[in-house]
Symmetry: C2
Subunit: 173 residues, 2 copies
Amino acid sequence: MYDRAVSDPEAGLSAEQLGAYFALVEVGSLLQYAVDEHLRADGDLSYVQFQILARLTDAPDGRLRMTDLADGVVYSRSGLTYQAGLLVNRGLITRAPSPDDERSVIVTVTDAGRALVAHVLPGHVERVQQLLFAPLSGDDVTAFGAVLGRIREHMRAVPPRSAKPRAARRKAG
Amino acid sequence: MYDRAVSDPEAGLSAEQLGAYFALVEVGSLLQYAVDEHLRADGDLSYVQFQILARLTDAPDGRLRMTDLADGVVYSRSGLTYQAGLLVNRGLITRAPSPDDERSVIVTVTDAGRALVAHVLPGHVERVQQLLFAPLSGDDVTAFGAVLGRIREHMRAVPPRSAKPRAARRKAG
DNA sequence: TATTGTTATACTCTATAACTATA
DNA sequence: TATAGTTATAGAGTATAACAATA
C-alpha cells in the first residue's frame, strides 16, 4: 500500500501499526462487500436493512423505538426513516405511535420480516464463517475478539454519531 | 446485538466468533466514519480519493495505470473514472495516454496532489493512532496485525471484485 | 424549550450498459 | 475477439434543514 507516504516517522505510526491498519481496512471492506452482496441476492436487503430487521428480531416482542434503532445502526434520523419506510412498504416491519410517549414511534417486525431474516441468516453466517473465520484457530478467534472488544470499548467512549449533528447544530446556529 | 437471531447453533457461528464478527463490523464502521470525516473536513477528500492519491504518491514517479488503481481501490471502472475526474478537476492528478499501450491511461499525482496528501496525513494518522491503537499494547498490535494479515490473505484468494462484472457479463449475455 | 420523527431536497456515490479505440 | 477506458444514465443512500407534534 502507500507505506512510504504514511509511515513517515513524524506521522506517528509504526510499520507494524500501519500494516495492521491497512489490513483492517481491507478486511473490513472485503467482508462488507461479500456480505452485502449475499444479502442483496438472497433477500434483496442492504446490510443496514438486515441490521434493522435482525435487531428487531432480537428485541423483546420484536419492538424498538426509532431512536433506539438509530443509536445502534449508526444512522442519521432521516436515514433511518428512509430505510424504515422501505421495510414498511415490503411488509417486513410496522410503525405505530408509542402509547407511552406520543412523540415516539415503535417499530415492530412482522412475521414476514422474521421469516426473511430466518431465510437469509444461514447464508449470511456461512459467508462470515468461510471468509473471516476459516483461516483462524480457536485461539486466534479468542485473541482477535479480545483485542477488537477492547478497541470497540475505547471507541465507544468517544462521541456517538447520531447524537452529534442535532445537538451540535443548535449551538452553532 | 442480534445475538439470539444469529447464534442459532444450526447457523454455525460460536458465541465467540459472533462477538468477534460484530466487534469487527462496529470497529471498522466507526473507524471509517471518523477517518472519513477528518479527510473531508481537512482536505475535502473522500476516503477513496485519499486512497487514490496516497497510492499514487507511493508509486514510482507517482504514476499508475487506471487498471492498477482500480484493482487496489476496489472500484468499478466507471467509478474510478468518476473519482479520477473529480481529482483532475481539482488539479490533484493528471491523466495521459500511455506511450506503451495506447489503450491505457496513466494517472500521475501533481505537486498539488502531493501537497494535499502531506497536509492531510498527520491528522489522518493521528486519528488512527488515537482511535485504533491507543488502547493496545505493542503485543496486542503484533497479534492483531498477524491475525488480520492471515485473514486478508485468505480473502484475497477469493475472487477479486472489479474483475468479475466485466468477465461474468460476457458469458451471461 | 427540548425531543421525536418526518419530509423535502440536493448531492454523492456506485453500477450497468453502450460505446470507442487499441492490441 | 479481448482489453482499457469513458460516457450516459439511473438508482440507492445519505445528510441537511425545515417542519409538526408531543413532553
